[in-house]
Structures are given as C-alpha cells and as structure tokens.
C-alpha cells in the first residue's frame, strides 16, 4: 500500500508514491538524492536532519514523507541561489563554524529559522536557538560567531 504525495522541494514540484512509513529524510536522501541532509540519531535529538518545512525548521527524521504532502521543503542544497552563498553559509565559512561538517547542514537550516524569527539574537538567544542541534567538533563557539556574522550581513 503506497500513498501519493506532492511536495515542493527547493522550489521544484515533486510527486511520488511512497510507503506510509517512509521518513521524510529518507525520501529526500534516497528518492531525490538530496544527501546534504544527514541522519545523526534515531531519537530526534541531534538535529543533523533539520530542513525547513513551510519555512520553519523541522527534523526530517521525525516526520513521515506523507506528512510533507502539499508542503514546501527547503534543504541545504536549496539555500544558495545563483551560485551566491546564503549569508548563514558565508558566516559558517568565514568564522570556522564547522569542522567535520556532518552537523552543518542541519545547523545552518536551524539558524535560518532562528534568524528569520529573531534577526538580531543575543549570544544566549543563539545558544538556546541551536540547542536542538548537536555539534561534537566546534564546541559551538564559532557557530555562535557565524550566526552573529550572518545576522550582521
């Protein structure tokens, strides 16, 4: 038994027949080949799989593909436009906000949502804003700098 979904991913309309149990992250990665969205846990804590669903951050490992029916999904691959990096991406690059890079796409998508809601966050607001995203490499300090740089851009 499969279900039909229509979803806009990075501005492109997609239609698919999916198993009802298929996770959104597997749909993005395996069906669409958008492997920039990563899977770092199975309990919805780490945030590596964060994407934007209708403009708000969502953990795509905790959402079924069928729940995204009719939604607009933005992944890390959809962030740069016409070869121009998004200011959040620039911030991460300039401030050394990443090391191994595995948490980075999810972290960047969470930061997109954070800055959308709060364009000039304090350090504490940034810290709590990225609490749903784990990073094992950076100690978060340069991520905070990256967010601050992006907020100023």
């Amino acid at each position: 038994m499969k279900a039909s979904i229509s979803v806009s991913v990075n501005g492109t309309a997609r239609a698919a027949e999916v198993e009802p149990r298929l996770l959104l992250v597997h749909y993005l990665r395996d069906a669409l080949g958008l492997t920039g969205t990563h899977i770092g846990c199975d309990t919805s804590q780490c945030g590596a799989c964060t994407v934007l669903v209708n403009g708000r951050s969502a953990k795509s490992c905790t959402m079924l593909a069928v729940q995204a029916d009719g939604a607009e999904v933005t992944t890390i691959e959809g962030l740069a436009s016409d070869g121009e990096l998004d200011p959040v991406q620039e911030g991460f690059w300039n401030e050394h906000g990443l090391q191994c890079g595995f948490c980075t796409p999810g972290m960047i998508m969470s930061v997109k949502d954070l800055l959308d809601r709060n364009p000039d966050p304090s350090e504490d607001e940034i810290r709590s804003g990225i609490d749903g995203n784990m990073c094992r490499c950076t100690g978060y300090q340069n991520i905070i700098k990256a967010v601050q740089a992006a907020a100023k851009a």
Binding site: F92, C103, E123, C135, Q141
Partner: protein, 779 residues
C-alpha cells in the same frame, strides 16, 4: 625560502564550500548500482549463551538476499586484529566478526541480514530467532577480578587481561621521605565518543576477487592491510576510501566486525552492500573511551613540594580487544607525572575484561585520565596542606631551563615553559580578583569556585620503534605540467582541516599561490601508504613529511633550472617560487616554467641524471615525541539547592609549538575543551548490574549543548619543539586533556566550605546534590 605568507595566517578552509552546501559525500551518501543493505542482529543481553539461531523466517522474506551467522563465514574471515600488546603475558581472546557460542556484550552481533532495501533488512533482522540463555554479567571493574566473578572468557581462566607491575621498586622509600603521604581514589567514567556521523560501510566487489570499501575511518591504509589479511585477498586488490568522515575522536581508529561483515556480504552476494550504523546501535557497537579507576599516593613535603607519587590504574577493557584497547591505559602511565618535576613515580596497571563495549582511543586516549587523577590529587593535596592550588602547581612545575626533561616514566619531554603558561592563565582570569569575588559571594550565601589544570601530553606519534607500531607518515608533492600542485598525505583528516593547513605549508615552501594547491587524502589507491589521523599527530608527522618533499622538489627544480639556464647547479637560488642564477636575478625560471620543461623534457640534455616530472614522496618517522602543554582555569557557580553547576568563565592557555593556522588551532581547542567539559559535567556510560546500557541514546546520554556552555577565552604561548623541523607539537587533544580536571577542581573549590573534598564525574545536578546532602548529613 619564500617569504612566509600563509603559514601562521588565519586562512578560511578549502574544505568548507562543499560542506556548507550539502555537496560533501559521507559514506551514507555513497550509492552504487544494485546496492543491497546489511542489518545486524544484536544481542539484547550483555552476557548470554547462544543456544541456537534460527534464520529461516528471515531468509524466506521477500527482498532478503542473504542471511549468515558465524558458522557460515568462519572459514572465510580472520579475527579482528589486535595491534597493541603491551604485555607478553596478556590474555589474548580473539574477536570474531560475528559472535558464536556466547554474546559477551550488549549489542554483540550474532547474525547478518542482507536485503534489497534498508527497511526490509530491518524487518528481516527482527525475524531472526535467537535462543539466548542469560548469564551473570561482569560490569564493575573492581568486582570483575574478585574471586568467584563470572568469567567472560572461560577458557582463559580470568577476567584480568594483563597486569603491568610498578616500574620503581624504591617508591615506598621515596614516599616515606616526604613529610606527608596522602591517598586518593578517582574514577574516570566510561564515555561514548559519539561523532555526529555514526560509522558506516559500503563495499563493492571488484572483478578478480578484489573489493572497494568506503568506510568512515581515521585509518584507511591500516584498515586495508588488516582487511586484506583477514579475507585472504591480495592487499593490492583491496581499496579503502575514507570519504568525508563526520568526526572520529578515536572511535574510528579501528577495524570493526561490521567492516568485515559488510565485505563478506558483498563478496557472498556479488553485489555492492551498504551498512549504516544507527545511533542507538552506535552506543553499543562502537568503542568507548576512558573507564578507569585510579589510586594515587602523593608524597609531599609541608612546603608543597611533591617528592613521589605511587599510582595504580585499573582499566576497563570491555569484552574484547580492538586494535589499541590494550595500549590506551599505558599512555596514562607515561603521563603520570604530567608537567611536574616529581623525581619518583611508579605505576601499576591492571587491565580487566567486562561485559561492555571495548574501550579504545577517545580524544586524549589515556592522557586525560592521568591528567585527571594528577590534577585532582594536587588540588586535594593543596587543600590538606592549606595551600593555594595555584601555588602548589607553581612549586612543582618543571622549570623552563630543565628541558629536555627526563620524566620518571622513561620518556623525555622535548621543550616547555609551564610557569609562563600558568602565569598567563592566572592573569587572564584575574585569579586574585576572583578569590576576592568568591569571598564576597560567600558572604551572600553563593558558591563560587575556581579550578586550575596544568597539563602536558605526549603527541606526535611515532617514533615507530619505541611505540611498537608503524607510526610514520607519507607526504607527496606533485607539480604538474601546468604548475598546479597536488599534495597527497597519508594522514586522514576528518574535520581537522589539513586540506587547508597543508596547502598553506606547501604554498609557502614552494612560493606558489595557495589556490594552486590541493590536498588529497583517504584513498588507498591514490595516496601512498600512511598511518592516519589520531593522537594529535597528523600535522606534526604528516606536515614534516611534506616539508621533506617540498625540499626535494625544490632541489629537483634547481637541477632542471640549471640546465635551462645553463649554469652550475650549485649556483641556483630558489626564491619566491622561482629559481635564478646566483648574482643574476633576471636569469630565472618560475616553478611553473620549470614544471612544464620537466614534463616536456625536450630541453634537458641526456645523461645528466634528471628524471622527467617534478614530484617527490617522503616518509617521516619521528625521532622523538612532542609534548604540548598549558594551563586552563575555569570559574563556576554552584546552585546548592539544585546541584546545578554553571560555568562562568573559561580561560585556556595552550602551547602547541609553532602554528600553521591559528583559526584551526582555536577550533581544535574549542571542541576539545567542550568534550572535556562533557566528561566533567554531563556524560557517562551508565550500565545496570545486568550490563544493560541505561544511557543508550541521546535522550539519556547528555551530550554538551550550546546553552550549557561558556565562552572560551583562548590564548597561547609558543615554545617550538626541536623534535621536528616545523617546530609543531600538535593540538587535537589538549582541550579534552585539560578541561575535565579544571572543571571538577572548580566545583569542589566552590563547595569546599560544605566539607566536600571530591565528587565523581559527571557532576550532574543529581550527583552534586547528593554530594551536598551527604556532606550535610556527615556521611
């Protein structure tokens, strides 16, 4: 030598454009045509006899390609290798790719299922029926070696894997000479490394019986050799690729059963096969770190001078050896006197099997454990003597004029200026000012504390001969016909940024633009044999190999230029990316011009001993270890009602010798410090008496998150090492080594007035609250 432009500069990373756009390829992003998926059936018991395994239901499911257990593969695969053998008498149980007869840890893999997709593979794994007979589990490491403890390896007759006797016979005499002897016990709890990318493997069979493996590893070449040997495939037909690797921290410095099983699955089905570790699975199946109980006797005079220490380390190996399991605790022994001039020291090491995941390297690997027991013991000693903790350190730190310094452990420290680092950290945090603030706060009933940690660490592995394993590194520098530079390194960076720092180094050495240099790594077919990235060694050892190669390339360029410029080779001068005739700077050829001529090879006379091309490969095996050092100081406030610890300031002064890219160095320190804070405050593998892992997911295992942390104020001193021509000591592990004792010292300092002398890590609100209650109740 070119004018230095890049080395020492804050240069943003070459790695990042692909990583910030989602274009990086990690193992799970590798897709091959007709790829199948592997799932492992894992024991739900820490210790159980396996009476039978029925795979028939799984095998009959639609979409299932293969199901195998140990009996199906035992003739096709060797054991998991053990590289470290610190004792000739050590018990040597061998780990199989799949357990049979007994499961010896929670999550021990007992059967493998291969299916058309990962959902079906999961369903089929659940359909495998295993009849287990649960046995008493060995969990506590001190109980494990008591008489009558259940045996994990019955045929070996003991849970004690090996014991190394104390080195010094005279230690008791040395202790007796001191005014005081204080005895302490500390616990370095088990930690779970948890890189954000779990492990994963893809194997594709190649024609002729070979295979290609993509795996999330720190050691592609070491793995290739061991994989080929275990599978009896000629090693030149095995290709291992470490693609983008999402963090390692030591737990990917290994050879795992899943790598063997995925390879077998691919060979058996003649299809590409992928295995990706779930996070919950990773908590069980990937190596853990730390896991030591430490006893230390401190012989100290009334003036604070430490004369002798006697230590006993009981180390939790887990159920099996992985490749460096047995070596890690020996690093604790090597570092037992840390940065202090303590003339007499002895160490006894007892290594114990338990029904838990194998321990192995985890960022710092043995050195954080030693630093923890030593720094805690110094604080407690100071407290007993009524001395300030900064003062006892100052009185015992090795003076700068004592280097090179022969430590009682037998290693020689290369260089250091420890007192300067301590002074700098104390000034940065305003130590005296904080003490006044602390006293004022105490008047208001607030509990503020300050903690110091001075450390040194042994890094830059090899030398191969004293280390007991090949630990050199290769470096290739190739200038192509168009003058572009390709660097190959045997190191296998996975976040550290050597694509950038090595390009800085080579660009400066050759006097070519940074953008003209690319660095390749991690593919055994592309990169000459190398050992890998761990132990803060990649830049120290791999960087030096590259310096040797740029030197050779420059010599070759001079030789080629001498023929082009029709002058004697000894009159060639290399400067700013070009060779000119001494005294005639206009008679010059750029490196790009020389490279083109060296490749075209039409203007080079015959018979002059010059080969076409412009490249060199070098291998560097260090003659000596390096010893980074520094002092970290942290301040905290403790809420005694809830037990919650808040970090208020963190100052780190580290000395890693010369620095190629300060931005990368700071990044390493930030991450390392937070992992140390994680041990001090949050993390711990908690097992119940049956060996069930209670902290087996991110819901229960508290990883450091941004809101629990504090801004890290970083400064450095710079004491070059004479051990290598770059003067580099290494920085990857410093933060993790220094941070945990500094934080615990600060919390105990805050609570000293309540009569608390020690609290075991992690200093979670619950543990701190209990310590406060126990002290209040006089327990």
């Amino acid at each position: 030598m070119a004018v230095s432009r890049m080395v020492g500069a804050r240069v943003r990373r070459k790695e990042d454009p692909r990583l910030i756009t989602g274009a990086g390829t990690y193992v799970d992003d590798v897709r091959r045509v007709d790829m199948a998926y592997l799932e492992l059936v894992r024991s739900p018991y820490a210790h159980a006899r396996i009476n039978s395994i029925d795979v028939s239901a799984a095998r009959d499911m639609d979409g299932v390609i293969d199901v195998f257990v140990w009996d199906d593969i035992k003739d096709d695969i060797g054991p998991i290798p053990i590289d470290a053998a610190p004792s000739p008498d050590m018990l040597k149980p061998w780990r199989q790719a799949l357990a049979s007869g007994k499961a010896r840890l929670l999550g021990d893999a007992v059967a493998a299922v291969v299916a058309e997709d990962r959902y079906v593979a999961r369903d089929a794994a659940e359909a495998v029926e295993v009849d287990y007979e649960p046995l008493d589990a060995v969990v506590d490491i001190e109980a494990a070696i008591e008489e009558g403890a259940p045996l994990i390896w019955e045929d070996l007759g003991s849970n004690m894997a090996f014991r190394l006797e104390p080195g010094s016979e005279d230690i008791d005499d040395a202790l007796a000479e001191a005014d005081n002897v204080f005895s302490f016990r500390y616990v370095n709890q088990r930690l779970i490394p948890n890189p954000m990318e779990t492990r994963g493997v893809v194997v594709e069979p190649e024609g002729g019986g070979g295979l290609t493996m993509w795996t999330s590893t720190q050691i592609p070449h070491m793995l290739k050799d061991r994989l080929a040997a275990a599978l009896s495939i000629p090693s030149n037909q095995v290709r291992v690729i470490a693609p983008e690797v999402g963090g390692g921290f030591g737990c990917k410095l290994n050879v795992y059963p899943e790598e063997y099983c995925t390879a077998l699955a691919a060979l058996r089905s003649n299809r590409p096969v992928k295995w990706i570790e779930d996070r919950s699975e990773s908590f069980l199946a990937t190596t853990h770190g730390r896991g030591q109980v430490n006893y230390i006797d401190v012989g100290v005079n009334n003036d604070g001078k430490v004369l002798a220490i006697k230590t006993k380390i009981i180390a939790d190996l887990g159920a099996y050896y992985q490749i460096l399991t047995a070596a890690v605790p020996t690093l604790s022994q090597l570092m037992m006197t840390g940065p202090y001039d303590i003339k007499a020291a002895s160490s006894e090491l007892i290594c114990v099997f338990t029904n838990k995941a194998p321990t192995d390297a985890y960022r710092g690997a043995g050195r954080p454990e030693a630093t923890y027991f030593l720094e805690r013991a110094l604080d407690q000693t100071a407290q007993k003597l009524g001395m300030d903790p900064a003062e006892i350190r100052r009185r015992n730190l090795i003076p700068a004029d004592q280097f090179p310094y022969a430590a009682p452990s037998g290693v020689e420290y290369d260089s250091g200026d420890h007192v300067t680092a301590l002074d700098k950290a104390m000034e940065a945090i305003d130590y005296e000012g904080f003490r006044r603030e602390q006293a004022a706060a105490a008047e208001e009933g607030r509990y503020l504390g300050i903690g110091l940690s001075s450390y040194t660490e042994i890094c830059g592995f090899g030398p191969s001969n004293t280390l007991g394993m090949a630990c050199w590194e290769s470096g290739t520098v190739k200038i192509d016909r168009a003058g572009k530079v390709t660097v190959l390194t045997g190191a296998s960076p996975h976040g550290q940024g050597q694509e950038t720092s090595f390009a800085q180094l080579v660009a400066d050495d050759l006097g070519v633009p940074f953008d003209d240099v690319i660095v390749l790594h991690g593919d055994t077919t592309i990169v000459p044999y190398g050992v890998g990235t761990f132990g803060s060694r990649a830049t120290v050892v791999g960087g030096t190999a590259l310096r040797m190669s740029t030197d050779k390339v420059i010599e070759k360029a001079k030789l080629v230029a001498s023929h082009l410029l029709e002058a004697a080779p000894e009159d060639m001068v290399f400067q700013n990316g070009a060779v000119h005739v001494r005294g005639a700077p206009t008679q010059r050829k750029t490196l790009a011009e020389i490279a083109e001529e060296a490749h075209e090879f039409q203007n080079i006379p015959r018979g002059v001993g010059v080969e076409p091309g412009l490249e060199a490969t070098s291998i560097y095996d260090p003659d000596a270890y390096t010893f980074p050092f520094g002092t970290h100081i942290v301040t905290v406030e403790v809420d005694v009602e809830t037990g919650k610890v808040s970090l208020t300031r963190y100052v780190a002064v580290d000395d890693c010798g010369k620095v190629i890219n300060p931005m990368l160095v700071d990044g390493q320190r930030h991450g390392g410090i937070v992992q140390g804070i994680g041990q001090a405050l949050f993390e711990g593998a908690v097992y119940d008496e049956d060996g069930q892992l209670l902290s087996g997911s991110f819901m229960d295992y508290a990883m450091p998150i941004a809101s629990e942390l504090v801004w890290m104020e970083t400064d450095r001193t710079e004491t070059p090492t004479p051990a290598n021509p770059l003067g580099i000591k290494g920085i990857g592990e410093a933060g993790t080594i220094a941070a945990a004792p500094a934080v615990v010292n600060a919390v105990v300092d805050a609570l000293g007035s309540l009569g608390i002398e020690d609290i075991d890590m992690p200093l979670s609100p619950q543990n701190v609250w209990h310590a406060i209650q126990s002290a209040a109740n006089g327990a």
